[in-house]
Symmetry: C2
Subunit: 189 residues, 2 copies
DNA sequence: TCACCAAACTAACAAGTGTTAGTTTAGTGT
DNA sequence: ACACTAAACTAACACTTGTTAGTTTGGTGA
């Protein structure tokens, strides 16, 4: 719980603006105005616009990688692992909805870190698919198209950042449970 | 099947670029280079960059509205209506994956047409939710949170544009069926 | 051959872009 | 009183942005 530095404030404000208009459409002058200062003053705290994007995206991507590694190493059933993935997304997204928007929509504007980001994402998706395949083999999961299953779950989870801010009445635990139910058991009676 | 005009070519090329980098990050010079001409030449065919975005997004949004109206007026069961919605998304997205990317990611950069777009989207979501609620009342659909159900389905469907281009082996009909199965019946055995 | 026209071109514009350099301000510990 | 420092400022830079004006090109029908 260390306190927020001025640099953190700038990054958080930037994340909020990036969520609204996207990285490319937000100028350093926009960001400065939102902070109540002049654009040049931002450079007392950060080195470049690109550095801000990197700070937002890479830290979140590494959180996902770390969470996924814990889940894979656990001894739980495949369905239970999928429920943990849902909870992972709900938790990370709840703590940083603005940053998740950048991760989803502005990752392609990463420069030096683009390859690293893509590597993390590919590994994450491969692990996700691995869990589903494992569940199919163990007959826990229907033997339909595993990629469609992953696609459906992952895109829903990736879009949580759009939805969580509107539903403050649901806490993370309840939302995770409801979502797991819908994603895993379906909606029909 | 009328043939493609030069203006159409520009709009389609723009949609492709917008998908890759987003509206704000694509310059008129980028677009011109992709067309093999100079930026100024674009203005022989279009009036502004904004007009291109409008042409891409609004036509698709109106397709969705029109499709949804047909579904609502049908006498089918709620589950069957949801299957039709899945098919609607698969069809529209298959025909214009690039345009769907702009609709999803760049709608906020619409200027004059922003309010109109938001109106269409709100109506669409209200109709979608109405079908789910109707299904809950008729005991076709589980009595869990209808908004979570809509969120889950709609975000999956909205992300199809990312996924369809990678899976050319699946035709629209098969993909629609598989996706309906996953979304409606779940994935567990 | 001539007029026409779609569609390209060159040249330029005013405004906005990220960023740098150097300076001022106000508060803190000695 | 003094030096130090975090954090703001003004002014400017080189470049990029969307767009306009006027011109050239090459093909088509009369």
């Amino acid at each position: 719980m260390k306190q927020e530095t001025r640099k953190d404030e700038i990054i958080n404000t930037a994340a909020k603006l990036f969520k609204e208009k996207g990285y490319s459409a937000v100028t350093m002058r926009d960001l400065a105005t939102a902070m109540g200062i002049k654009a040049a003053s931002l450079y007392n705290h950060i080195n470049s616009k690109q550095e801000i994007l990197k700070a937002i995206i890479i830290s979140i991507a590494e959180e996902f990688t770390s969470g996924m590694n814990s889940i894979i190493q656990s001894e739980a059933s495949s369905i239970s692992k999928l429920e943990s993935i849902v909870a992972l997304h709900v938790n990370i997204t709840s703590n940083n909805t603005n940053g998740m928007a950048s991760l989803n929509n502005d990752w392609m504007h990463l420069e030096d870190q683009l390859d690293y980001y893509l590597q993390l994402r590919n590994e994450y998706e491969a692990n996700f698919l691995g869990i589903i395949n494992e569940g199919v083999t163990a007959s826990e999961i229907k033997n339909s198209n595993p990629e469609i299953i992953m696609f459906s779950m992952l895109t829903t989870l990736r879009s949580l950042y759009l939805w969580i801010p509107k539903k403050e009445d649901l806490n993370a635990k309840n939302l995770g449970q409801s979502l797991s139910e819908v994603l895993i058991s379906g909606i029909n009676n």
